[in-house]
């Protein structure tokens, strides 16, 4: 499903060069629920941005669904993002001017569905997150947990195969956090691959697999073992 | 001036927006300062003294309906009647009306039988009442005697013996004589008939105040029936009544003609309509442009402040005073405005060079640029003041609120 090999990402500013990811390799299978943990500044968000085609790596190879995405144009990348990937952010990032209905409408518009199909999907996904009655409300009129559920509905409306979540529960209390987590697990059961960055060890454990990023590199044990092996060989 | 460095680095992050505002101010300075010189030149043109009682004079002209109409007889009777009317100070008959845009001009010489090197000047044929009727000031010599007035057929070659000229005519034709021209004679082209100067009037701009010969004028004691206007000066404040009364009485005395009446003020306004339009339009340009730029500055300052609301809150929470916050934004604005004005001063000179070259407009003095620059600086600061004061009112609690 997703395969990264020796990905590098460095940011240059006037004074210093930051290596956000170094020699980063990872494979995620279809239907997996992977949690990502690691200290602050270790490169988790950078990894998600690259995985979600929001940023391009400085080096290395990235295969999404077996397709090499390195050389794609912005248009194709946007297309892929729209069709295959859903995003959930810690800050919700709903568009404040648009009501819930129109917020969920955004990715569907870019997909080019007709009005009827869009309406069907929006209603369905609002239903899924239990906010169907609030379609005409503005984001500011909802609680944080509700906003995050809308964000999930928006991510799901396009029926992506792949959901990327960056600390989706970071701004929520533990009850809300659990609700969101249950929603994600439910979605995963229906076949959507999920990668979720979190600081919460309890939530991280609920995933099928946990990877830890330290200093821009994957440091899960298995990978470390492989590394040693190749060093010996 | 502790604050300059952070302001500069913040501005650098908004360099495009800041530059756009500076650019606007610069262009505005270039336009406004040039518009101002043009306005002041045109205003001067219009408000120049004309030498005649422009606000008290009405003029009349008629066309006779029958073909063989005794014009000279009508002139005599009309003028006698007009002079006797209440409110009329004086009246004359002239071939043309000063400031009207329609007149006669010719070339004049100091020596007989010359063909080249003439001095161009306006000329009028008038009767003996002309100095008083036009409200001019006779500064030397005399006017005309009634018996000097001749009747000139335009197809005849009759020449007057005497003439009254304007001071400017005398100075320009006889530059060496220090204004002492009474008794001197001048000639028309290719002619040996001397015309003696018997009087000098202070000033008369003539029918075309914007032409190169404006101010030069020669008056002949003569009447012609091809081109004629009654020029009537009313007692102060009675012009409009006199206009109506004379028009009525002329029609009453002889209904067999079509009469045109006009005030000199109206004719002058017509003549200067172009300059007047220019003044009004350019003033409008100055006001609108300044307004637009001010709006732009307000808009952008408000935007920057909204964008930095949280930051301002944090600063306040960390101990910045209200004045410090306002001062920050005013200083920021001052620096942008200063850049703009530096750009604008150069642009104003370039623009002015173009106007001088292509359109023969007056050169731009430094004082005008400085004046406009200070004005724009004030406008710019005033525009930034309101949002800057508002920024100072942002509560320190802003720091803890999420946006």
């Amino acid at each position: 499903m997703l395969k990264m090999q020796n990905i590098r990402k460095s940011y240059r500013s006037d004074t210093i060069e930051t290596h956000a990811l170094r020699d980063f390799s990872l494979e995620v299978k279809e239907g997996e629920f992977v949690s990502v943990t690691g200290p602050s500044g270790s490169g988790k968000t950078t990894f998600l941005n690259i995985a979600g085609l929001l940023e391009t790596p400085t080096g290395g190879q990235y295969l999404l669904d077996g397709q090499e995405v390195g050389g794609l144009s912005d248009r194709d990348r946007s297309h892929l993002r729209n069709e295959k990937i859903g995003f959930i952010f810690q800050g919700f990032n709903l568009i404040p001017d648009l009501n819930l209905f129109d917020n969920i409408d955004v990715p569907l518009r870019y997909r080019g569905f007709n009005a009827k199909e869009r309406r069907r999907r929006i209603e369905k996904s609002l239903e899924q997150v239990g906010l169907a009655a609030r379609a005409k409300h503005l984001p500011a009129q909802l609680s944080g947990g509700q906003q995050q559920r809308v964000a999930i509905a928006r991510a799901l409306a396009g029926e992506p195969r792949f959901l990327l979540a960056d600390e989706p529960t970071g701004n929520l209390d533990s009850l809300m956090a659990r609700q969101v987590m249950e929603l994600l697990e439910f979605v995963n059961e229906w076949g959507t691959t999920i990668i979720m960055v979190t600081h919460d060890p309890d939530l991280a454990r609920r995933a099928h697999r946990n990877i830890q990023i330290v200093d821009g590199q994957v440091s899960d044990l298995r990978q470390v073992a492989q590394h040693k092996q190749s060093a010996i060989a | 001036m502790l604050e300059l460095r952070p302001i500069l680095s913040a501005l650098w992050r908004h360099k495009v927006s800041a530059l756009l505002i500076a650019l606007q101010l610069g262009l505005t300075l270039a336009i406004v300062s040039n518009a101002l010189v043009v306005i002041s030149e045109r205003t001067e043109r219009i408000s120049r003294p004309t030498g005649v009682a422009e606000n008290e004079i009405v003029t009349f002209n008629f066309m006779a309906i029958p073909k063989d109409y005794d014009m000279y007889d009508a002139f005599r009777q009309d003028l006698d009647m007009i002079r006797a009317l209440p409110g009329v100070a004086s009246a004359t008959i002239s071939n043309h009306v000063p400031l009207s845009g329609s007149g006669s001009a010719s070339g004049f010489y100091t020596e007989p039988n010359k063909e080249t090197g003439a001095m161009g000047s306006n000329y009028y044929t008038v009767d003996e009442h002309f100095v008083d009727a036009l409200g001019m000031k006779l500064i030397a010599g005399r006017g005309f005697y009634p018996e000097e007035i001749m009747q000139i057929d335009p197809s005849s070659n009759d020449r007057p013996k005497v003439s009254v000229v304007t001071q400017k005519f005398a100075d320009d034709l006889f530059p060496e004589s220090d204004g002492n021209v009474l008794g001197k004679s001048f000639f028309l082209g290719g002619d040996d008939h001397p015309i003696e100067i018997v009087g000098i009037v202070e000033r008369n701009l003539g029918p075309w105040p914007n032409s190169s010969i404006a101010g030069r004028g020669a008056f002949y004691p003569a009447i012609t029936d091809r081109w004629f206007y009654y020029i009537v000066r009313a007692e102060p404040g009675q012009r409009d009544e006199v206009l109506k009364l004379v028009e009525e009485k002329l029609a009453e005395r002889d209904g067999n003609r079509v009469i045109n009446a006009n005030t000199m003020e109206e004719e002058k306004a017509q003549y200067f309509a172009g300059d007047n339009t220019m003044i009004k339009v350019l003033s409008g340009v100055i006001v609108l442009l300044t307004f637009i730029v001010a709006l732009g500055i307000v808009g952008l300052t408000v935007f920057w402040i909204t964008q930095r609301q949280k930051q301002i809150g944090v600063r306040r929470a960390l101990g910045a005073t209200r004045t410090a916050i306002s001062r920050y934004f005013l200083l920021e604005n001052l620096m942008i405005a200063a850049t703009g004005i530096a750009l604008g001063t150069a642009a104003a000179q370039i623009f002015n060079g173009f106007l001088v070259r292509e359109f023969d407009q007056p050169a731009l003095p430094v004082s005008v640029t400085v004046f406009c620059a200070l004005g724009l600086l004030a406008v710019s600061l005033a525009a930034a003041l309101v949002p800057a004061l508002r920024a100072a009112n942002i509560s320190p609690a802003m720091a803890t609120r999420s946006v």
């Binding site: 995003f87 990032n93 870019y110 | 650019l23 262009l27 028309l188 340009v285 637009i292 935007f303 407009q361």
Partner: protein, 437 residues
């Protein structure tokens, strides 16, 4: 997608009404100023004779002062002398030709309540109507004889005919002009070219004649023209006949030449004529003639004068300031929405999509600005009409072309203004806006 962008744009404009109003106002004022002067210039430089531009020519002969050229851009007198006009009229090379000048006089009707009035008139040879394509409502031009000898016939314009005869067919009726009875032989349809290309002497935008009179009347009426009369030498003039034979210029002369061959032949004819006159001591200057098409004639006469052209430049500079203003405001507005653009990018909008969306928003501002700009232009033109005291009434008005041009200019300027801000926001890296704040 376009409809979606438009609805987003309108929503966004409504969200920040003050900023939006500022932008619309900036564009409107800029467009209003530019369109006011552009309209004036466009109307001023209109060529009423455009359809015959390739066959009509204004004739100039340089018979001016040997010591200095005539003081105008063509360096030839604008007009012709009476004697030359009469001599040229004898040529049979041109398909049509007219010699003419402005005149006027009181006009009245016997036994009528119509008050006598002064009628601006044109004394002309009979080809005038055919040459300038002036259509007749009733009747036609006068007889050929009337151009040679004093025959009391005249042609009225439809406006004068309305005044005098209430619009009836007046052919054959009698009117008194200058105290003498004339027979009406024709009534023209409305014909009011502005600028008055056929005679640019007394105000380019003044009204045309109300009455047309034959060319054979000069001696009988001792006609002194109402237009400009210019001379350069002192001549002994003791009678009207002397005046007609003088070197004073006061007539306009136009010819219609339908083929290049005809033009060539006419040029030769004029050259020959001047040579012949030179032998008699006239035309002391180097041989020079002028044949100008109506479009060239308008340019040569500087119908659009320096002040007008200066205002044109000024208004363009004005528009530029308004544009810079709009760019700054649009940039501010768009950058404020950068986080939203970031979300859209994350949800699958391509850079082009974000760019188009914002460009559409700019265009909406432009469209609104254009509509408001038309209103401002109309206000500006009415102000000009008022300031010019009637002199520009026919010129300072807007037609459909100019209204469309106003909207076009507004949309174009706002697209131009929106280009950089839209580009800028479509290029920003979405990820930085998605970080938790």
């Amino acid at each position: 997608m376009f409809g979606y962008y438009v609805s987003l744009a309108l929503r966004s404009l409504r969200r920040t009404p003050v900023l939006s109003a500022l932008m619309v106002a900036a564009i409107a004022v800029g467009v209003g100023a530019a369109m006011t002067t552009l309209t004036l210039n466009y109307m001023m430089s209109r060529n009423a004779l455009a359809e015959k531009d390739s066959v009509l020519y204004a004739v100039q002969l340089d018979g001016w002062d040997p010591h200095e050229a005539a003081d105008n851009p063509s360096e030839m007198p604008w007009q012709l002398t009476y004697q030359d006009s009469v001599n040229l009229l004898r040529s049979d090379i041109p398909s049509k030709q007219v010699a003419m000048h402005r005149w006027g006089g009181p006009i009245s009707l016997e036994n009528s309540d119509v008050r006598p009035f002064n009628a601006d008139s044109r004394v002309t040879s009979r080809d005038f109507f055919a040459l300038f394509d002036v259509p007749f409502l009733f009747g036609g031009t006068w007889s050929e004889e009337a151009d040679q000898s004093p025959i009391h016939q005249l042609v009225l314009t439809s406006e004068t005919n309305d005044k005098l005869f209430g619009g009836e067919n007046s052919v054959g009726r009698t009117v008194n002009f200058n105290g003498v009875p004339f027979t009406v032989v024709g009534v023209t349809e409305h014909w009011q070219p502005s600028p008055k290309v056929h005679d640019l002497n007394n105000g380019h935008f003044n009204k045309s004649a109300e009455v047309f009179l034959p060319f054979g009347l000069h001696r009988a009426f001792e006609i002194y023209p109402w237009g400009n009369t210019n001379g350069w030498k002192s001549e002994e003039i003791t009678s009207y006949e002397d005046r007609l034979n003088s070197d004073m210029v006061w007539l306009q002369y136009w010819v219609q030449l339908d083929s290049p061959k005809q033009v060539e032949a006419y040029r030769d004819f004029l050259t020959g004529y001047i040579r012949e006159q030179k032998e008699q001591g006239r035309f002391p200057r180097p041989l020079k003639i002028g044949l100008s098409k109506p479009s060239e004639w308008l340019l040569l006469n500087e119908v659009v004068d320096g002040d007008d052209r200066m205002l044109n430049w000024l208004s363009l500079a004005f528009l530029l300031v308004c544009l810079v203003n709009a760019v700054a405001l649009l940039l501010a507005k768009f950058l404020r929405k950068a986080p939203e653009a970031g979300v859209r990018r994350a949800l699958g909008a391509s850079r082009n999509a974000v760019f188009s969306q914002h460009l559409v928003e700019s265009a909406c501002v432009g469209l609104l600005g254009g509509l408001a700009g038309i209103l401002l232009t109309l206000a500006g033109l009415s102000l000009i009409r008022q300031l010019q005291m009637g002199y520009m009434d026919r010129v300072a008005s807007m037609d459909w072309t100019m209204m469309l041009a106003a909207i076009g200019l507004a949309v174009l300027s706002s697209l131009l203004a929106g280009f950089y801000p839209a580009w800028r926001i479509s290029r920003t890296n979405p990820s930085i806006y998605l970080k938790t704040q």
